[in-house]
Every structure is written in structure tokens, then in C-alpha cells.
């Protein structure tokens, strides 16, 4: 079958999709977007978390056909998503402030300064905070956690620790023991709060 969807703001069309394929499989294997991860494919680990029409879901549990006509945001589009959101927010608060330009076209693979990735890259606040706080080790859980944490901060810009734990409880991490992940979400919230 053919599946049409909008991923990270860009229209996609996938052909010859077998009815049993998940949204995760189509994203990873047919659309060239392997950022969403396949840690369990049982809906237990959250590493494949994407936004489906705004709602965080495990992409492994969504049949590809169910995503027909939907808007999907994956980790690859998180920076653009956050930028658009802050643009809207900034527009509401201080309309005169110019929106920062960015080099990437939505949906294309970005290679920010490939020879110096440690330097400035157009990242969402939560992405930068994960790097700075030491919340990334093997990084396999990171894409799902980022999508989940970003959605939390969108709903609740100033979450308590208990709120963060509750929101991230569907995302397993085996490396960090979560302490640095908590630090990262707190840091992202604080920086976003300062920026407004």
C-alpha cells in the first residue's frame, strides 16, 4: 500500500508498504529517518517516541497505515519544531524580535558544521541541555527521551522533579541512572525560562 504523511514539516510518500509494517519501520527503513530507535519494538522502552499529530506515541506500536495523512515529528525535526515554537512564543511576547535564521530545510538531514560538531549547532534547548548535563552515554534512548521531554516542556515549562519523573517514566535508559537526564530537563527548563 501507499502511505502519505508529513514528517518534520515535509511531505513524504512511501510505496509498497506491507500492511504489517509499523510507523517506526517506515520512518527508519523507507523514509531514511533512523533517528527514532528500535530498542524493544514492544512499546515498553520509549526509544521510538515520536509526535503523531502532536501526541507522543511509540512509533513501534502504530501501524504505518494509521499514520496516513498525519503530521509526525521525530528527533530529526526536533530543533526546527522547537525553533518554530519559540518563534511563535517570541512573536506573542516581543513581536519586534527577529527570528534567528537557520541553515537547515525542514526534513532534510542536517550536518551542522561537520568538521566541528562540538561547536554551535542549531539544537533545541533540550538537545543542548542533554549534551551539557552529561545525559548522553550510549545515546540509544536519547531520541525518544528528547521528544518526550520536549513535549513535557511544551506543556509545562517549569516542571517539578516529580513531574519530570512522571513524564519520562515510559522511556528506559540503561546507562545513566537518569540523574543527568533530570539535570538536563531542569537545565532546559531554566534556560528556556530565562530566554522568554
Amino acid at each position: 500500500m501507499r502511505v502519505n504523511m508529513t514528517v518534520n514539516g515535509r511531505p513524504y510518500e512511501a510505496d509498497d508498504v506491507w500492511e504489517g509494517e509499523s510507523l517506526l519501520y517506515v520512518l527508519r527503513e523507507r523514509l531514511g529517518l533512523p533517528g527514532s530507535k528500535n530498542a524493544c519494538e514492544q512499546g515498553e522502552c520509549g526509544s521510538c517516541t515520536v509526535r503523531l499529530d502532536g501526541v507522543p506515541v511509540c512509533a513501534c506500536l502504530v501501524a504505518a497505515g494509521q499514520a496516513e495523512g498525519s503530521e509526525v515529528v521525530t528527533v530529526e525535526g526536533l530543533a526546527d519544531h522547537a525553533r518554530q515554537r519559540s518563534g511563535e512564543a517570541a512573536g506573542a511576547v516581543c513581536p519586534g524580535e527577529p527570528e534567528e535564521g537557520h541553515p537547515g530545510t525542514p526534513g532534510t538531514t542536517r550536518h551542522p558544521e561537520p568538521t566541528r560538531p562540538g561547536q554551535v549547532a542549531p539544537l533545541a534547548p533540550v538537545q543542548q541541555a542533554f549534551i551539557d548535563a552529561g545525559a548522553v552515554q550510549c545515546g540509544f534512548c536519547t531520541p525518544g527521551l528528547l521528544v518526550t521531554a520536549d513535549e513535557l516542556l511544551e506543556r509545562n515549562p517549569d516542571p517539578s522533579d516529580a513531574d519530570i519523573r512522571e513524564a519520562l517514566s515510559g522511556n528506559l535508559c540503561r546507562c545513566t541512572g537518569y540523574e543527568k537526564i533530570l539535570d538536563a530537563v531542569r537545565l532546559a527548563a531554566a534556560r528556556t525560562g530565562e530566554a522568554v
Partner: protein, 798 residues
């Protein structure tokens, strides 16, 4: 979109530092951090190649059975299927293994564990491959099971490996025992006669899974020269290659491995999983073949932590001095040897913990059985022992009426102590100090769920959002534990690592390239390499070459050894490069300044050659010109020796690592639910090369220990030796709700034998975390709790 993803080597990473200088001792950001947060980092399961096929493995549904026949015709007839292979199709070697080559690539006429690979399929869609595998007709005849020590050593026990001729075969008491290591020191019988207090108990540790998140996966690409290129997530590229080449019937130089992104390891990637299968299918079909396990298959696709039964007897005098320890540790190694012999050596030699005990009688064995194969997992034999000896320390302290921390401190080893193996502990061993530090930390607030005047916040209670209690029948307990872990490969193993450093001027700026075969599995070794290169060569920009088999072996990313060993190799190679820089500088500019004649007075800093007085006498760009320096060096730690097979005496370990924990738990005694409220740790790391990563290792290890204490166990059915819970639905690892705040105290007492004085970090926190949590539950409930993981039914009822 997909077409631009190819199986080419991972991109090199160049890092220049931002806010920090990124040298040794600084919390430096990961060079792969940006790629990992944008989803662009290529893990082994993300690889794609044009014309790629998907491999799938057919596994045995029985734990022990004879294979009477295999019929692949129906599978081969399925459209989209390109190859089906069984044992009969293997081109060369038929077995592999880390130490003993006892594991079949594909089962021949007998399967020895539930999930053993029997056949492999390559097809153009993963679902087609799965369906084809389901069409393979295998006729099995079930055989009697070996499931524990009694069935393994019974007079009529079936032999797992009849006629075995490995180097342990001659000294084990039974062919179903992989290895046996006794340790004898002093006179236990005489000490027992003098003891005022004797405590003898049995303990049990369940089978823990590493549960890394990135599934076993890789892509094998057949090459024009008849060889194969394998892009793979592993812990040790070279030992994979050395096992693969004989199986593929290829010389080692035609089996080229490149490390892909690795989604965690924790020991589970030390053994081969899908490597041979993907290469065999690629060579058979002439097409690239990708294999990715799903989580269900992953539980069958790698070894686990050995479950153990332990019997301990401790004797002490009334004043709180330990007189003797006698113990017996039975580890279940499952169907194949994997790293069982080394796990036995660790369990035996570290069996009494970080204590001074003059009289010791230890026996550790690993069984062959029809249970799932067990091998390396973080802590490697020391975890099982630590659970038991720390429970014993609490029990003896209670008998003596002593505070458990004070009793430990009275018997704690320190530098200059002698291990039960006779080995002198010749570097800092601050065991008493680590305990003092965790004890001195402030306690978390009591009854945190009771907001002043507000509603109960159930999220702070055992059971959490299940809303099972509002604090009724919830009691608090506090527990302590400390452990000892070896660092590096032991018992005479020729443990070395290799680094190649290339220093050259690019765009007027000196750039160091670091090339090693170290498996970065998430631990942050790549960050450490950039820090060491900057420190030793005085450059800002460091490029990391992808890890592959074109450079010498780095050894395994295990045994807490990579910062010591490959970090040591990078340092060693940088020193050689620096010496060459100074030699060239002296050759060209020696006449300009007398200091060139005294290279020991010179260092490299900010791209300059600087004297010990701070005077700049040259710069790297000028010295190097357009000629690079490119050197490869090996680094070895000091030699060790095997433990004597009768007495266990010997200088067996390179270095020891110590961590202490204090756990605070709250238990709902009516429902048997546990919430760990806080898990504090103190660890001596010798030198924190990257403090942020060091703390991250301690957090991660502590959490895996917590998981073993209260959640994690692979349940194997007693009647069929079948794995009952191969999913994250039924095998529970800690979530962020299960994991508490974890304050960490880091000590840095240098080990003069090690690079920068550092001590391996990764494993020690996994040891003491488990017994500390269980001690806290015992303190809360008064129950004896001799088995982990602790389950609700252990905490409720009579």
C-alpha cells in the same frame, strides 16, 4: 533519502573545545554528543546498503534436544528468500568461543539451550525472512535436562560436552564443571575453634540481563577480494575477527571489522551474536546482509550474568575481628563456556570482599547446564560474591551487637593489606574512608509524600502512581555496603592496547588524529582520548578515526579497563609523537636555544614548545611543516600470573577498585512494595579524567545494582529450562520512577602504577549497590532476605 545512507565507515569526529580546554581532569563534552541528540549518529541497527538483504535466525524451542532432521525446502521456495543455511552448509570452522571454542555456529545434531541458533535465512524483507524461518521443518527429540549442580553432577548426568579437551578439563572434578578455583590461606579449622561468633548462611542471586537498549545488529558486506566487511556493535573488534575468520574460512586480513554506533554493552557484546551469521549469509548470497534482533530475540542472543548459589560461613571474635571466612560459590554457566572460567577466577579471588581475613577457604565453580549461557556482565563474578559477603557482614555485626559500618571499618583492608590470594594491595584502598563518607551524608527527608497540609503525593511512595498506599504501613530502612572489583584482564592474560597518533598541520593549525580499535559503547572513552591527546600534545583540535581492525587491538571494552588501557596507549603513543616533535625541533632549531638539548625540560602547550620556565622556543606548525608524524604504539599493564589451581595463590590482578553505598528505602509492608528513596555512593577513582563521565558511570552502575536488588531476573522454567520473560514487559529494568536521587562522592587517590594515577571506574558501583539496597530492606522489615531480586512475596505474609 535512504540512498544517501550507505555502509561506509562512520564519519570521523573532529572536536575543538568550547568553554573548557578539554584536557585531562576537565568535564569535557562528548565528541559524538551532537550527532546523538540529533538522531544522526549511526548505530549498527541503522545501517543500510543498496541491495541489502535481511537475515533472520531460527532458534531452538527446546533447552535440550537431539536434532533428528532439518528440512529447508519450503523456506527456500518462498519468493524473496535468497539463502537458507544450516550446520551442513558451513564452509569451514563450525565452533567459536571467547576462551573455549565449544559453541556451534549453528547447531549440528543437538541443541543445548532454549534459543540456540539452528538455521539462518536471508530475504529481501525482514518479515519474509521470519516467515521463511517458520517454514523450516526441524524434528527434535527432547533429552533429559541439566539444570543445577545436583543434576549436573549426578552419576547418570548427561554430559553437555562429552570428550571435552579444553585446558580446564583435566583439573575439574566433573566434566559438567567448566572450571573450579579454590583459594586457601591460613587455617580455617583452627580459627573456627577460636571464634566467639559463627554465622553460616546460604544465598542466591538470580540471572540478570545486561538489557542494553541497542539490539544486536550489524551489516556484512561481501568484498571483491572474496573477503567481507562487517559493520558491527561489539566490545572487542579484534577478538570478534579472530573468531570469525576460521568460521568463514578466510584469512584474518580478509575479515575487516568497523565499529558502528553501539547502544550499550555491559558485557553482553563480548561474545559473538549475529556476526558469523550475517557474514556467512553475505558470502553465500554475494549481497550485503543486515541482521537486527528484536528485544525478544535479544534475550536469547547474548549471555547473561551467572545466577549463583553461595554458602558463606564467617567467624569473628567478640571484639569484632573477623577470624575466618569459608565459602562455596556455584555459578551456573549454562550451555557454553563463554567467559565462565574468568568469572570463576574473579568470584573466588574477590569472594571475601575488601576485608583483612587471615584464614580463608574458598571454592568457586561454574557449571555446564541446559540453562541460558552466562558470561560477562558488569561486575563479572564480583557482584554475586558481594551480595553474599555484605549480607554476612551485617549478620555478624548484628550477632556481635556492633554497628554494621563500624564492624566493616574495623576489618577493612587498606594499602599494604594482603589478599586471600597472597597478593599485596600496593596502592590506596580507602575502604573505611569510603564508608565514612557515605555515612556522613545528610539523610533524605522523612515522609516526603506528606506535603504540608496538602494532599499526599503518591509519586513519592512505594507503588507510586498505582496509588496503592498513602503512607500506611510504610517503613524506612537504611543499609550500607562496600565492594572490591579488579580492573583489567587478570590471571596472566597478555592484556594490551594499541593507539596510532598522527600529528599534522591542517590550515596552519596542528591537528592530532587518534586511531584505536577501542569499542565506544557509551562509556565516553572517545572523550577521554581527545582529552589525553590535547594534554600530551598541546593541541586544541583532535580528530577521532573510526575504530576498526586496520589498527592493532585495543582489547575489550570491559573489566573497567579502557581508560587505563587504551587511554594508556593513547598517552604512550602521544609521548612517542612528542619525542619525535622535539627531535625534529632540535634538528632544525637546536642552535637557536640551549633548551632544545634538554627535551625532558620541554612540553607542548597551545601548539607551542615551551620550557619548564614557561619560555616559548618553537611552534608545532613550524616544526612539522607539511610532514606529519604518524606512530602506532602498544601499551601493557604490569604482568599478572594465574592463580594456583590448588591454593589460589598468585599475583592475579592488575588493580583494585572500591565503591561504597548507602541505601535508604521505604517499604510498604502490606503489599511488599519497595521504593529506594536515595542511593548514595562514594568511590575512589584514582584520577577523574572526565569528572562528568565518572559520575555518570557511578550512577549507571548503581542503578543496575538497584535493578538486581529489587526487579531484574530472567526466569527460567524449572521443568523445561525455558526463558519465561524475554521482553521488557516481563523483565523489568529500573525506570526514572524506580531510580532515586544518587549523591556521589569521588575520591582521587592516585595509583602510581596507572596512567595519570587513574583507577577503572565502571564496575565497582554495580557491586555494592545491590547489597546496600537489600540491607536497607532488611533493616526496614526485619526479614532475612537471602535472595535477589527481592520480590513482594518475600516481604509479605508469614
Amino acid at each position: 533519502m535512504a540512498a544517501d545512507r550507505t555502509a561506509s565507515a562512520p564519519a570521523t569526529l573532529t572536536q575543538a573545545t568550547g568553554a573548557t580546554r578539554g584536557t585531562v581532569g576537565e568535564s569535557t563534552p562528548r565528541p559524538d554528543g551532537t550527532l546523538k541528540v540529533t538522531g544522526e549518529f549511526a548505530y549498527s541497527s541503522d545501517l543500510w546498503h543498496e541491495d541489502m538483504l535481511w537475515g533472520f535466525t531460527l532458534r531452538s524451542p527446546y533447552a535440550h534436544a537431539a536434532i533428528r532432521s532439518v528440512d529447508t525446502a519450503e523456506a527456500l521456495a518462498l519468493p524473496g528468500v535468497y539463502a537458507v543455511m544450516t550446520h551442513d552448509d558451513l564452509p569451514a570452522g563450525t565452533h567459536y568461543g571467547l576462551e573455549i571454542h565449544d559453541q556451534p555456529v549453528l547447531a549440528k545434531d543437538r541443541v543445548r539451550f532454549h534459543g540456540e541458533p539452528v538455521a539462518i535465512v536471508a530475504a529481501d524483507h525482514p518479515e519474509t525472512a521470519r516467515r521463511a524461518a517458520a517454514r523450516i521443518a526441524v524434528e527434535y527429540e527432547e533429552l533429559p535436562l541439566v539444570v543445577d549442580e545436583a543434576t549436573a553432577t549426578a552419576p547418570d548426568a548427561p554430559l553437555l560436552h562429552p570428550g571435552r579437551r579444553d585446558h580446564h578439563a583435566s583439573h575439574v572434578p566433573h566434566p559438567n564443571i567448566v572450571h573450579r578455583q579454590p583459594i586457601r590461606r591460613g587455617d580455617v579449622a583452627a580459627a573456627r575453634a577460636r571464634a566467639d561468633v559463627v554465622v553460616r548462611r546460604d544465598y542466591e542471586v538470580g540471572m540478570q540481563d545486561q538489557a542494553f537498549l541497542g539490539p544486536e545488529s550489524g551489516l556484512a558486506v561481501p568484498a571483491e577480494d572474496g573477503g567481507v566487511d562487517l559493520y558491527i556493535a561489539t566490545q572487542w573488534l579484534h577478538v570478534d575477527r579472530d573468531q570469525l575468520a576460521p568460521v568463514l574460512g578466510l584469512p584474518a586480513d580478509k575479515v575487516r571489522l568497523t565499529l558502528s554506533g553501539v547502544g550499550g554493552a555491559f558485557g553482553a557484546r563480548e561474545d559473538l551474536s549475529m556476526q558469523a551469521h550475517a557474514c556467512l549469509l553475505a558470502l553465500r548470497t554475494g549481497r550485503p546482509v543486515k541482521i537486527v534482533y528484536n528485544r525478544y530475540e535479544s534475550f536469547f542472543g547474548h549471555v547473561h550474568r551467572h545466577p549463583a548459589k553461595l554458602t558463606y560461613e564467617h567467624g569473628a571474635t567478640r571484639d569484632g575481628t573477623l577470624l575466618y571466612v569459608q565459602c562455596r560459590i556455584v555459578l551456573d554457566g549454562g550451555a557454553y563456556a563463554s567467559s565462565s572460567p574468568a568469572v570463576v577466577g574473579n568470584a573466588a579471588s574477590l569472594s571475601i570482599g575488601p576485608y583483612v581475613v587471615g584464614n580463608v577457604d574458598v571454592e568457586a565453580i561454574a557449571l555446564y547446564s541446559n540453562n541460558p549461557p552466562c558470561g560477562a556482565m558488569r561486575g563479572f563474578g564480583a557482584v554475586q560474591a558481594c551480595f553474599a559477603y555484605e549480607a554476612q557482614m551485617d549478620a555478624v555485626a548484628a550477632e556481635l551487637g556492633l554497628d554494621p559500618v563500624e564492624f566493616r571499618q574495623r576489618n577493612a583492608m587498606s594499602q599494604g593489606a594482603t589478599m586471600p590470594t597472597g597478593q599485596l594491595v600496593d596502592s590506596p584502598a580507602p575502604v573505611a574512608e569510603l564508608l565514612r563518607r557515605v555515612k556522613a551524608l545528610p539523610m533524605p527527608p522523612e515522609r516526603d509524600w506528606e506535603a504540608a497540609g496538602g494532599p499526599v503525593d503518591v509519586r513519592a511512595l512505594p507503588g507510586g502512581l498505582s496509588n496503592t498506599t498513602h503512607g500506611e504501613a510504610v517503613v524506612r530502612g537504611v543499609g550500607y555496603a562496600v565492594g572490591i572489583k579488579n580492573v583489567g584482564f587478570s590471571e596472566g592474560f597478555d592484556d594490551y592496547s594499541t593507539a596510532r597518533i598522527r600529528l599534522e598541520v591542517i590550515g596552519g593549525e596542528p591537528v592530532a588524529l587518534v586511531h584505536t580499535a577501542m569499542a565506544e559503547v557509551g562509556q565516553g572513552g572517545v572523550t577521554v582520548h581527545t582529552q589525553i591527546a590535547r594534554t600530551e600534545l598541546g593541541v586544541d583540535r583532535v580528530t577521532l578515526h573510526p575504530a576498526d581492525t586496520r589498527v592493532g587491538s585495543a582489547g575489550s571494552t570491559s573489566a573497567s579497563r579502557q581508560t587505563y588501557m587504551t587511554g594508556g596507549a593513547v598517552k604512550h603513543a602521544c609521548e612517542a609523537v612528542r619525542a619525535e616533535v622535539l627531535r625534529r625541533g632540535r634538528e632544525r632549531f637546536g642552535a637557536s636555544h640551549p633548551a632544545w638539548a634538554e627535551p625532558e625540560r620541554l612540553r607542548l602547550e597551545d601548539g607551542k614548545v615551551v620550557t619548564d620556565g614557561g619560555e616559548v622556543i618553537g611552534d608545532l606548525a613550524g616544526i612539522l611543516g607539511d610532514e606529519a608524524i604518524d606512530l602506532e604504539r602498544e601499551f601493557r599493564h604490569r604482568p599478572t600470573e594465574p592463580f594456583d589451581l590448588r591454593t589460589g595463590q598468585g599475583f592475579g590482578h592488575v588493580q583494585y577498585s572500591f565503591c561504597a553505598h548507602r541505601a535508604v528505602v521505604e517499604v510498604d509492608t502490606e503489599l511488599g512494595l519497595v521504593k529506594v528513596v536515595e542511593l548514595a555512593a562514594a568511590q575512589d577513582v584514582g584520577k577523574a579524567i572526565n569528572p562528568l563521565s565518572v559520575v555518570g558511570q557511578i550512577h549507571g552502575g548503581s542503578t543496575q545494582g538497584l535493578g538486581l536488588a529489587v526487579m531484574e531476573e530472567i526466569v527460567v522454567s524449572r521443568d523445561g529450562a525455558r526463558v519465561r520473560n524475554p521482553s521488557f514487559t516481563d523483565y523489568l529494568i529500573p525506570t526514572i520512577l524506580d531510580t532515586p536521587a544518587m549523591p556521589v562522592e569521588v575520591l582521587e587517590l592516585a595509583d602510581d602504577n596507572a596512567p595519570y594515577g587513574l583507577r577503572g571506574v565502571g564496575e565497582a558501583p554495580t557491586l555494592s549497590s545491590t547489597p546496600a539496597v537489600v540491607a536497607a530492606i532488611r533493616a526496614a522489615t526485619g526479614r532475612p532476605l537471602k535472595r535477589v531480586p527481592v520480590r513482594p512475596e518475600h516481604l509479605t505474609g508469614g
